[in-house]
């Protein structure tokens, strides 16, 4: 029951603290958010970004956006991003 309640606002809890990320290279970032028991796979392409989140209670969610993602994941991990211009 506790996990059920946690699952609902998980996206808000995990993806917080907006910051500017420096564009480095095409990449995938994988990390675990221990507070919620969720694994996050982040992927950035030239035009968009996505998260896939899987949690130890079986919850699964996805998150999509256009452009460069500016923020942290998993409670403080800065994901790498795609260089859009040289």
């Amino acid at each position: 029951m506790k996990k059920l309640i946690i699952s609902l606002p998980i996206f808000l809890l995990i993806f917080a603290t907006p910051i500017n990320t420096y564009a480095q290279a095409d990449c995938t970032t994988e990390c675990r958010h221990y507070a919620t028991g969720c694994d996050v796979t982040f992927r950035q392409t030239i035009i968009s970004w996505s998260f896939t989140m899987t949690c130890d209670d079986g919850f699964h969610g996805d998150d999509f956006g256009s452009g460069q993602y500016t923020g942290t994941i998993c409670g403080g991990v800065t994901p790498c991003s795609v260089q859009t211009s040289l």
Binding site: S7, G37, D39, R43, S50, T52, T54, G58, F64
Partner: protein
């Protein structure tokens, strides 16, 4: 002011009622888009049967502090061996399921032949194991001892829809693409490298929500290709010439609950809406309906739901009935009462269905003839 509020409440109630009345039609747009006149509805409204370790094989190394089994992503079976990926280290691990001994642990990270940066999936065929690295646009072939055979370059691979998967038959690889304006998937001939596109794009390039373009692919020995939607209770069956044989809808009181989605200045949180194009630059979150794996065998189909509420997470089994498919049962896998086994990956090795996830130290195996 009071009257305004009453008016709003009445208006909300009216549209809620209309919305509920149209629940059964919410996928009509899909039928029209794919030109399907007679989709088949499969009623799956049966009780969920709870299964415990006494009802299935449960492989777990209870003696060792350092777990050598499980805690991995993806899953394949080669004879008595299980193959899976330890995601954090991108380690490919091979464990004998009878002796629970490690038969191989390899990391092939790099940019050269036989190397990957990130494993998006592992898929086995008759004599080969394939690793898909979407970011490197390649499929890597190994033998069952994990010796490199060859790399197959792919021209265009979908990377954003992470649950959009590939499938392999004897000489073809079926995979998601993202630059084609008309189609979502491509089939490449692994011998002569010719390719053909299939499955019409639903959400156009640059529009949202692209999750409606995501499908889990599985193929059986009869070359029936199944595309199961990630975010809708639908699956398509294609024949070997890549023509749609039919579209199936899973129908239940609980499987497709209508709930309110939330929108604010920066984001849209989608719980369970009808599929439609959203013209927005906002961040789109899907927190409701989710199918996380699906397998078609010659006689059965297995679909695992991992929906918003724990009570909605279970395996749905279908069986062949002539030219169509009918429901045979719903199953929930528990370690003990109120302790659900967390499942994100399934694989089939006749007659066994294996289930696992990166959150579990054990791996489940169940005889599919019992489902």
């Amino acid at each position: 002011m009071i009257f305004k509020h009453r008016y709003l409440i009445l208006l909300t109630a009216y549209f809620s009622t209309i919305g509920c009345a149209k629940v059964s039609d919410k996928y009509e747009v899909i039928n029209e888009h794919y030109g399907i006149d007679n989709p088949v509805s499969i009623d799956i409204d049966k009780d969920v049967i709870n299964l415990y370790p006494k009802d299935f094989d449960y492989f777990i190394n209870e003696e060792s502090q350092d777990s050598i089994l499980g805690n991995g992503k993806f899953l394949e079976v080669i004879n008595d061996s299980i193959l899976y990926v330890v995601v954090q280290s991108q380690l490919l691990k091979k464990v004998n399921i009878k002796s629970l001994s490690i038969e191989g642990e390899v990391i092939f990270k790099g940019n050269g032949p036989g190397e990957y940066n990130y494993i998006d999936n592992i898929i086995r065929m008759d004599t080969s194991l394939f690793i898909l690295d979407k970011g490197m646009y390649k499929l890597i072939e190994y033998d069952f001892d994990l010796n490199h055979k060859k790399d197959i370059k792919l021209m265009d691979v979908e990377t954003i829809n992470q649950r959009s998967t590939g499938a392999i038959s004897s000489k073809f690889f079926y995979y998601p693409i993202h630059l084609n304006e008309d189609y979502l998937y491509s089939r490449i001939n692994l011998n002569d490298k010719t390719s053909v596109n299939y499955h019409k794009r639903f959400i156009p390039i640059g529009k949202q929500p692209i999750a409606y373009n995501a499908y889990l692919q599985s193929i059986n020995s009869k070359n029936e290709l199944m595309l199961t939607s990630n975010k809708m209770p639908l699956f398509f069956i294609y024949d070997k010439s890549l023509q749609i044989k039919n579209l199936y809808k899973l129908v239940s009181r609980n499987i497709d609950k209508m709930e309110t989605s939330v929108e604010d200045k920066n984001s849209i949180r989608i719980v369970n809406p009808p599929p439609k194009i959203i013209d927005s630059k906002k961040r789109i979150s899907f927190t409701g309906f989710s199918i996380i794996d699906a397998i078609i065998t010659d006689d059965q189909i297995f679909i695992y739901f991992s929906n918003r509420f724990i009570s909605d997470r279970y395996l749905i089994a279908l069986k062949r009935n002539g030219d169509s498919w009918v429901h045979s049962g719903n199953y929930r896998f528990l370690k003990e009462p109120n302790d659900l086994f967390t499942i994100f990956d399934m694989t089939f090795s006749d007659p066994w269905l294996y289930l696992s996830s990166q959150f579990e130290e054990g791996i489940i195996r169940i005889d599919t003839q019992e489902l």
